[in-house]
């Protein structure tokens, strides 16, 4: 009897732990994109934009038609998903990786320390497997709190700031670049510029032109 109760309690603890850290990333859309990435002819010295829907929705290939760009954004992706597909990306030894990940982790309420731990793992793996790749850690973008759509209401600006401070620190420790995108996509109140976003979190196509201009101005591109 008491064993049964104990087992039951353990079960519920485990369930709680699972709901607290929802690290699942391998959904139908992720698989569709991965199936595509597996078939794309491999190229050396690519410039890889790596992240979630914010990266995927970027017309990087159109804005930079003369560069060898690969869009490795997967809508809905989280830091766990990026880690899981990083080796595939590093196989081709890309010239540059522009990483932007974390806002869906916050949406799912994945503990910040876990996200930061994943950032560190990503950096370490890039440095180990493709030491010549220049990895750029891009700041998680601010949201526009007034426009923010319901599903993302769990994303809090203070958490974004916290992640960005960690990213900045990791960049410094590893002597790689941290890119503060707030300088180009944030307004003076620290909100995502209103005219750049349809829903408070995603970007309109023209915002990517500003983003690329900024990367060029900083000589990252």
């Amino acid at each position: 009897m008491s064993v049964a109760v104990l087992a039951c309690t353990l079960g519920s603890i485990e369930m709680k732990a699972q709901t607290a850290v929802d690290s699942a990333y391998n959904n139908g859309y992720y698989q569709l994109r991965m199936e595509y990435f597996d078939e794309v002819p491999s190229r050396k010295k690519e410039i890889v934009f790596l992240g979630n829907s914010i990266t995927e929705a970027g017309d990087w290939l159109d804005i930079l038609p003369k560069k060898r760009v690969a869009n490795r954004g997967i809508s809905g992706d989280i830091s766990f998903g990026v880690l899981a597909r990083l080796d595939k990306i590093l196989e081709n030894k890309p010239a540059k990786i522009f990483l932007l990940i974390g806002v869906n982790d916050l949406k799912r309420e994945i503990p910040k320390e876990l996200i930061i731990q994943n950032y560190r793992k990503i950096v370490n793996r890039v440095r180990t497997y493709s030491p010549k790749t220049r990895l750029f850690l891009q700041s998680v973008l601010p949201v526009n709190e007034e426009k923010l759509i319901e599903p993302f209401k769990k994303v809090k600006m203070e958490d974004i700031v916290y992640l960005n401070e960690a990213l900045q620190e990791i960049a410094k420790e590893n002597q790689i670049e941290y890119i503060n995108l707030w300088e180009v996509l944030g307004n003076k109140e620290g909100q995502l510029i209103e005219r750049f976003t349809p829903d408070g979190i995603h970007l309109k196509p023209i915002a990517y032109i500003k983003w690329v201009d900024y990367l060029k101005k900083k000589k990252y591109l």
Partner: protein, 227 residues
């Protein structure tokens, strides 16, 4: 009496609505919507430079990451989700400005989905070709067959049972290509199953393509030496 008049009025209104709906269906030439506008806003801000190829069309074109699949070429993706022949006609200047060596055109399924008469679609298509040829006499224009649909997977009724129309329109496009001395690309060779439907394994919704299918598409164009 009152009741009869009311009924008469209703049926008159109803008839008027049908007439209007019909004439709307015939001349529903609209193409501007928020999505079209934000794509054009982007396209109009991109620096004008010379391109090797332009892929021109609707969402099926837009979702292709042509630039990474076709290496070493300067490529512009000018697909706009939801676009139709009217929308393409209206933005040809933007395409012409790119001075591409090749244009891969694929447009028309949204016109058919909207129920536009075949003649209207074909007239628009002809105008697109004429304007492109006149402005870009050296550009090779590839007329791609409108892709088949897969009725089993289609979620929207308005698109169902359209494959006969797709084939009809494609025959006209093929004829046009011959007359205008353009290359007609029969994508059905690659995309259709033995019943003439879009291959079931290649689509989730019966109309759009799974990402990996674009790699097959590009391989096909390469095999045919169009790229």
């Amino acid at each position: 009496m009152i009741r009869i008049q009311y009924g008469l009025l209703l049926s008159l209104l109803f008839a008027a609505n049908i007439l209007q709906a019909q004439s709307n269906a015939q001349v529903d030439s609209s193409y501007v919507n928020w999505y079209y506008n934000q794509r054009m806003e982007l396209y109009n801000q991109l620096p004008v430079q010379k391109y090797d190829m332009v892929f021109l069309g609707n969402s099926i074109t837009e979702r292709g990451e042509w630039q990474e699949l076709i290496s070493g070429k300067v490529i512009a993706n000018r697909g706009i989700g939801g676009d139709n022949t009217f929308g393409v006609l209206a933005r040809l200047d933007n395409v012409i400005a790119l001075q591409p060596k090749k244009i891969f055109l694929l447009i028309g399924i949204n016109d058919l989905g909207r129920g536009l008469p075949m003649e209207v679609i074909f007239e628009n298509y002809t105008q697109i070709i004429h304007r492109l040829k006149k402005a870009l006499p050296k550009t090779r224009i590839y007329v791609q067959s409108i892709l088949p649909l897969n009725d089993t997977l289609l979620k929207y009724d308005y698109l169902k049972n359209k494959n006969a129309l797709v084939n009809q329109l494609n025959e006209k496009l093929q004829q046009l290509a011959v007359e205008e001395q353009l290359v007609y690309i029969n994508l059905h060779e690659e995309f259709a199953d033995e019943n003439g439907a879009l291959k079931q394994a290649w689509t989730l919704d019966g109309i759009h393509l799974k990402p990996v299918v674009y790699t097959y598409w590009v391989s096909y164009l390469q095999r045919k030496k169009y790229l």
